[in-house]
């Protein structure tokens, strides 16, 4: 091997220096950014009045969220609502007004009485603009193909809960899973710290045969508890607080949140052995809940506040196809949908739909504030509802089994939630059993409650 000369050594040294400088300059330009390279897009928020009471005036309110202005003032926005009486036909354009307050959405329109009073309800969508940039956004994204749909509660079954008495939660009929924190089979992963808070398994589901599947995203796996024992199946997931659903054929759906490197939510589909099938970005920016619909997974999303199918018969749907099939309620077998609307501090409206026909409805009021609705699912000719009731320092779940005459059964369930999970993934209904995912400092558990009644 020939010895390198002075010129070669000098050239090599200069090359290393130049390479390092060039590399740093390039990575600095590509990562740190300096001046802004782009601005965030136009966003919107809206809560649709999916269930209205008779003669209730309806004001549609929207937040239009633009890139921040240099002068610190709010977005200079505008928009129109395209609305019609009933659930079909042509839409009529109404301009949005710009109000003084943005506490519930600065842009609003009061719907005319002839539209609100329609016996078939009304349907609408909005086109919102950032007048500074000319950008527009449609809410819901499905526009006239999948508009917001609102239905009147003609003769709802009234349920008055009164003031909730805390501390009288019903004990479970059976504790079906107990798993200490850890990473071995039969244990459940725990992430976080005392300073940042803890998160445990974020969701679960229960098969028709009673097998409990827990999404242990911290350990990137699903664990199944069945009569045959405990089985762990590895999954390629991000580790974020995800929702989870089992399909009847064993397919596993994992609904992932945005992460540091994937800023949009994604639904991942896995075969029963854990091998990935596909991953599909959601139509909307934010999700609340995943459900296994009659033909595939469906997700309740924002800003549309609709249930959007993400796959049908095993095939993923693109974002525009999802948006084009948005519905106001969660779909169930037989073409039924369940609509949910939490109103104000202590009111919950529920309805069952077939197509665009309202079959039956309930209006529940509580003197103690109501929180989120964890579950609202048909069970035979009844509806099982799990909602949270809370004060500033206490919380419990209220389980209601509703029929046409009112409450067929009800009980309270405490909420041992030491580790964080996905927001609306604490309960699952399988057959006549209601399952609860809970956690303590020692580990994770799943409890079963029998909801059968003999009325």
């Amino acid at each position: 091997m020939r010895r390198p000369g002075i010129r070669s050594l000098a050239g090599g040294a200069a090359g290393i220096v130049a390479g390092v400088i060039g590399g740093i300059a390039l990575t600095s330009a590509s990562t740190a950014g300096g001046p802004a390279l782009a601005v965030p897009g136009l966003e919107a928020a809206h809560v649709p009045p999916v269930l209205t009471t008779m003669d209730e005036p309806v004001t549609l309110r929207y937040a239009i969220v633009c890139p921040p202005r240099a002068d610190g003032e709010p977005c200079d926005g505008s928009g129109s609502v395209f609305v019609r009486a009933g659930q079909s036909g042509s839409f009529r354009r109404l301009a949005l007004s710009r109000g003084e307050s943005s506490a519930e959405g600065r842009y609003f329109v009061e719907l005319p009485h002839e539209i609100v009073a329609s016996p078939d309800g009304f349907s609408y969508y909005a086109v919102l603009s950032d007048d500074a940039s000319g950008a527009t956004v449609m809410v819901p994204a499905g526009g006239d193909m999948a508009p917001q749909r609102s239905f009147p509660l003609r003769d709802p079954t009234e349920v008055v809960l009164g003031t909730h008495t805390f501390g009288h939660g019903r004990p479970p009929d059976e504790r079906v899973v107990t798993a200490p924190w850890g990473s071995a089979v039969g244990e459940a992963g725990l992430a976080g710290s005392r300073e940042l808070g803890f998160s445990g398994p974020s969701s679960f589901d229960v098969a028709a045969d009673g097998t409990v599947a827990v999404l242990d995203q911290v350990n990137a796996r699903v664990e199944r508890w069945s009569r045959a024992g405990i089985q762990a199946i590895d999954l390629q997931v991000s580790g974020g607080l995800a929702d989870f659903a089992l399909e009847p054929d064993g397919t596993m759906d994992v609904l992932e949140p945005p992460t540091r490197t994937t800023p949009a939510p994604v639904l991942r589909s896995f075969r029963a052995d854990g091998s990935p099938r596909w991953a599909q970005r959601l139509s909307d920016r934010t999700w609340a809940k995943l459900g296994a619909g009659p033909v595939g997974p469906t997700v309740q999303q924002q800003p549309s506040e609709q249930w959007l199918p993400v796959a049908e018969h095993g095939a993923a749907l693109g974002r525009s196809a999802q948006a084009a099939h948005g519905r106001p309620g969660r779909p169930f077998a037989g073409g039924r949908e369940v609509l949910v609307e939490r109103v104000g501090g202590g009111e919950l409206r529920l309805a069952e739909l077939a197509g665009n026909v309202l079959l039956r409805s309930w209006r529940i009021t509580s003197a103690t504030p109501l929180g989120e609705v964890q579950l609202a699912e048909p069970h035979g000719n009844r509806l099982v509802v799990v909602t949270k009731t809370y004060t500033d320092d206490r919380r419990e779940y209220v389980v209601l089994v509703l029929d046409r005459s009112g409450v067929a059964n009800s009980f309270a369930v405490d909420s041992p939630e030491w580790a964080e999970s996905a927001p609306l993934a604490r309960f699952r209904l399988t057959g006549s059993s209601l399952y609860r995912l809970g956690s303590t400092r020692a580990g994770l558990f799943v409890d079963r409650f029998d909801v059968e009644v003999s009325r």
Binding site: G19, G23, T286
Partner: protein, 202 residues
């Protein structure tokens, strides 16, 4: 020349290695400009500001980001303020969105640009307790747009309410989560309290 090119390549690769980067350079892009004193502060301008911080990452103890929709340093060690990565933490994002002063006795409105590196004097627990002249606690059932829910370890601002009774929360949640809008049930969680900023003008 051959040696130069070979060495240039080696140097270029070395520059990409973490240890060769000035750890961290993101804060080198930040500034310490004075905030702009404002007479107005609307909730939807707060939504605009917090929404624009989405995708820009999370930095424990941080409060500086740009608007390129990318977390420039997504793999910083969690809980390490010396990482100097991009993004605010939960309380830094809230402080800047709520246009607060670094002096906790001032309740005026101070507009901080995104690249202004400031975290503010409050932890999540301070916000929860309503510390500082601009802040106060509110009943959770009445908390609205751009009010917040705070625990001893975290704070997130209400972007909008929802149909199912939870909230869309804009928050800098953790290094792996980044800053984004998530569906949360903090409102009914007793470890969280309601907290708000005085002085909204619309």
């Amino acid at each position: 020349m051959k040696m130069f090119l070979l060495a240039f390549g080696v140097g270029f690769v070395l520059a990409g290695a973490t240890g060769a980067q000035a750890y961290h350079r993101f804060w080198a892009n930040c500034n310490y400009d004075a905030p702009t004193f404002m007479t107005t502060m609307t909730r939807d301008a707060g939504q605009d500001y917090a929404n624009a911080a989405r995708y820009e990452g999370y930095q424990w103890g941080g409060g500086c980001w740009n608007y390129d929709d990318v977390d420039s340093y997504p793999y910083d060690a969690p809980g390490d303020p010396s990482a100097h990565g991009e993004g605010g933490d939960c309380s830094g994002l809230t402080f800047k969105t709520w246009r607060e002063s670094t002096d906790n006795w001032r309740d005026g409105r101070y507009y901080w640009r995104a690249l202004r590196n400031v975290h503010g004097p409050y932890t999540a627990g301070d916000f929860k307790n309503g510390l500082g002249a601009p802040n106060h606690v509110v009943a959770k059932s009445t908390a609205g747009v751009m009010d917040a829910f705070a625990s001893s370890t975290h704070i997130g601002m209400i972007f909008f309410r929802t149909l199912y009774g939870g909230d869309q929360i804009v928050e800098a949640k953790c290094e792996a989560c980044g800053t984004n809008i998530f569906y949360r049930t903090y409102r009914s969680d007793p470890s969280y309290g309601g907290v708000a900023r005085w002085g909204w003008t619309g």
